[in-house]
């Protein structure tokens, strides 16, 4: 049995002692999760407000506030669910998620901002099934991997193959949209869940090999689109085409870089006010944080996310069941990867990929599903503190 790293042992355990005294007063069972999520959502609302303040008649702020409200209601509701009962419904949730992804590919689906990832239900009411599929897939994977047979501590070959099969369906459907960014989130989330579940190491070697083969296949079969290649080129040299593909990357870096240490102040971002960065209220929301709140504010966003992720890992470590550990680990990998890709993209570390920043970016589906995912963490946490 490997031992927990010294850093991770000390940090969560110190918090744990503090937590216990607070927990009796709490209405929510997991303040360590909810506080960072609430702070990030609040910052997100302010930034969406700032990014859209000059657009007359914009209702984006109100809509995002509504999404956050729904998200927190869902968070609370999910956190109340008993995990054992939830497990019983996982197949239903998973099939619903797949149904949504299939529906996108039927005439029900719509293309919004170049991504055929939407289902429009009516005037102004639209959602992105892939966002909800993330949570459903995490649960499905955890179900497959979190039930080691008696006497086994690790998921067997059958469980891992089942998990890979369960993951392959949504990944394939999303790749058909095509939305390779989101597909990549699914791949990372799957890998994370399998890693956390304790599957034997040889599976990762196989997994890595399959991944490499996949990349090679995509490359050789010319599945990669010219615009995607361009995005990669722009990453290598953002100044190569400052008015074309490099425009987003360049303008985003200018906005963030010009913020300096303390920023220009909320609602005082000139690049933001001038709408120099496209999609600044959605995928590029972090540029608003960088410009208006400066290094101090933008670092706060990253640190809040880190706090939430650490808390999630602590919950995973404390979970009495392999299922809980797998759920928590999967959610953490999902949020961590999406955060890294989003912020990394705005700062020119990664190619431009259309992934929202969890809790912060404008977007109903993403906000609600991210908060629901926090609800899952809270549900795992509840099991931790009410021993069976």
């Amino acid at each position: 049995m490997t031992t927990l790293g010294p850093l991770s042992v000390r940090l969560p355990s110190r918090r744990a002692t503090r937590r216990r005294s607070w927990a009796r007063l709490a209405v929510f069972p997991a303040w360590g999760l909810v506080l960072p999520a609430a702070a990030l959502s609040a910052i997100g609302l302010l930034l969406v407000w700032s990014a859209t303040r000059n657009d007359p008649g914009s209702t984006l702020l109100q809509r995002q506030a509504l999404s956050v409200g729904i998200g927190f209601a869902l968070l609370w509701a999910v956190s109340r669910i008993d995990l054992r009962m939830l497990r019983a419904y996982v197949p239903v949730l998973y099939l619903l998620g797949l149904a949504g992804l299939i529906a996108v590919l039927t005439p029900l689906g719509r293309t919004v901002n170049g991504s055929h990832a939407w289902i429009v239900l009516g005037d102004g009411l639209q959602f992105q099934p892939s966002e909800f599929a993330k949570a459903a897939t995490v649960l499905a994977l955890a179900t497959a991997l979190g039930e080691p047979r008696d006497g086994e501590r690790r998921p067997g070959a059958g469980a891992v193959l089942l998990a890979l099969g369960l993951a392959a369906l949504p990944v394939g459907l999303i790749a058909l949209q095509p939305d390779y960014g989101t597909a990549l989130v699914f791949l990372v989330l799957t890998t994370g869940t399998i890693v956390v579940s304790g599957a034997p190491k040889r599976w990762f070697a196989a997994f890595a090999a399959a991944g490499a083969a996949g990349v090679l296949l995509v490359w050789r079969l010319d599945l990669i689109r010219p615009y995607q290649l361009q995005r990669l080129m722009v990453l290598a040299d953002p100044d190569a085409d400052p008015m074309g593909m490099g425009y987003n990357a360049t303008q985003a870096r200018i906005a963030i870089g010009s913020g300096g240490l303390l920023g220009k102040g909320l609602f005082h971002g000139e690049q933001t006010a001038g709408h120099f960065v496209p999609e600044q209220h959605t995928d590029f929301i972090f540029t608003v944080a960088g410009e208006e709140l400066g290094f101090v504010g933008a670092a706060c966003v990253i640190l809040l996310m880190l706090a939430l992720l650490w808390r999630g890992l602590w919950i995973a470590a404390k979970s009495p069941t392999p299922f809980g550990t797998a759920v928590a680990g999967g959610v953490v990998c999902w949020l961590a990867f999406q955060t890294f890709v989003n912020i990394g993209m705005t700062m020119g570390l990664l190619p431009v990929a259309g992934l929202p920043l969890p809790f912060v970016s404008y977007g109903g589906s993403a906000t609600i599903s991210s908060l629901a995912a926090v609800g899952l963490l809270a549900a795992v946490n509840r099991r931790t503190r009410t021993p069976a």
Partner: protein
Amino acid sequence: MRRTVHRGRLTLVFVVVTALMLTLLGRLWYLQIVTGPSYARAATETRVRSVVLPPVRGRILDVRGRPLVANETKPQVSVDYMALIHQPDGGKDVLTRLARALGRPYQEIADRARLCAADVPRPCWPGSPYQPIVVTDDVSVRTALWIAERQDEFPGVSTALRPVRTYPLGSAAAHVLGYLQPPSPDDPEGGPELIGRDGLEAQYDRELAGRTGIRQVAVDSTGTVTGLIREEAAVAGDTLVTSIDARIQEVAERALTRAVTAARKRGEPADSGAAVVLEAKTGRVTAIADYPTYDPSVWTGGISQRDYEGLPLVSAAVQGQWPPGSTWKVTSTAAAAKAGYPLRGSYDCPGGYTIGGRVFHNFESAALGRMDMHRALVVSCDTIFYRFADRMWRRDGGLKPVEHPKDPMQKMAREFGFGTPTGIDLPHEASGRVPDRAWKKANWERTKADSCRRAKTGYPEMSDRKRAAYLKALATDNCRSGGVWWAGDAANFSIGQGDVLVTPLQLARGYAALANGGTVFSPRIGKQLVGPDGTVVRTITPPVVGKIDASRKTLRFIRDALAEVPRTGTAAGAFKGYSFKRLPVAGKTGTAEAYGRQDTSWFASFGPVKKPKYVVVVVVSQGGTGGTTAAPAAREIWEGIAALTHDGEKKHDTKKHTKESGKGTRAASLSPVAFSKAGGAR
């Protein structure tokens, strides 16, 4: 509790997640703290648009305040090259619509909107692609407004009311005034404004241009202006007051054109010509006429290739060089007098004078008997000067020259200002040539290889056999002994033939020195620079660059001799019936020969004889003898001057002169800075 959690795996995820977030923090630190300032600058650049406010360019006035170059506000239609090429069809659609709106063919508009390159003929845009390209300034206000109101239909097209250069006197003094062109893309200081490329526009470009203003506005990503950041008004350029008298200028141009036309009627080619009028005592330029000339308004609004190719851009007066012919005898006489030949002495004027076995003839080989130098100048006897030159050449050692030859004639010619540019306030001036032993040797060494090759091969490509044979003989001669300054060279020099070259302006300045008692000026056209508020910024005075080392008596003697020429001498025919009482004129004809070409016709003159005020020099290239072509034109100019002076100019002039000098001292005492600037600038 059974340990189901694989802690090692969670530690791995913990490390990876933490590392990812720390990477983001590090990148954030780098972007905002390390390189933040440069991004802040970049942010300002993308957010701030600078709108250049063009200053109104200063006018150019004549001596009486009549505008030679003025401004007129006209609507201009410009296109933004960068905006056009970023359109999917390269702007073709917009330009088609624009051409239709302007009522012009598409090709014309498209041609003007393209960038000049080595293989792109005019019309094209010689300026930077980042500045608006003026496609036309010949557009009605109505059409301009119509286009301005439809910005969505004409992306990248802008309209503005802009001052445009106008030339109230048409083609008058076109070469002197010069023209404007957009700055070339590689000009580091090139702004969006046109800059002077020739003439006074180029010479006084900095003063005329004024200071460009700037308005910085905040814009959003669509380019919509959201606020004003900084505004600095443009400062209009200075007005240049010149010493040109528009009326005399017109008289000179008319006379020159008439002379050329008349010469052509007589069968002469008369391919070009010039007339220069200087103030003898001050070195100021009163008129400079060039033939052929052009209408400077062709420059406004871009110029077509056909127009550009046909433009006679070279000023004959300042850039044209010809042998001066007998007008040169003025310097030779002064040189002879200084070398000890008495002016009143008696010299024989035979029909020919033999030098080195070759006979040098008088004009039409006439033998005129014995005479003094006065008569020699009046009848333009060559042989007397041949003898002077021959003797001087021998005194300097002949073919085996002494170490420091005296070269009295070359020395005197240089004192008259020949052989060096006059330094007039115009660009591209030619320097003329005063040949001597050293020059001939250097020239021979430069051309020896080619001459010797030609001496062998001849000129088989030439169809004119006679000319080819002559050139071959010349090449043989040059190859063998082209570096030797023969006595014949000296003889040719003495009468302004052979390798001597002068510009009309140089000759005018030399005659001004003769007329004013020996002061050689660097002529100036500009007289004053007046700021936009009316104050005199700078007064320009023609600087004295030399003094002729000849006695006052000698110069007066020559002047008196030249006074005879229009009355009884070589120009008597041209000046028949001229009212010498009204404005007595002295002058000298010149007929310079060149092999294979018609003679260059010269007349250099000054007047009034006793108190010379003006110098008039006329040249017509391939125009025949000085007396038949150039002298009548000079007479016409003198008559014009006389008429204008008579019509009150005389009185006005004296008054003006006192007023002017008063003004000058006042400016000097009030504004020492401006004065010292004026002194130091040139």
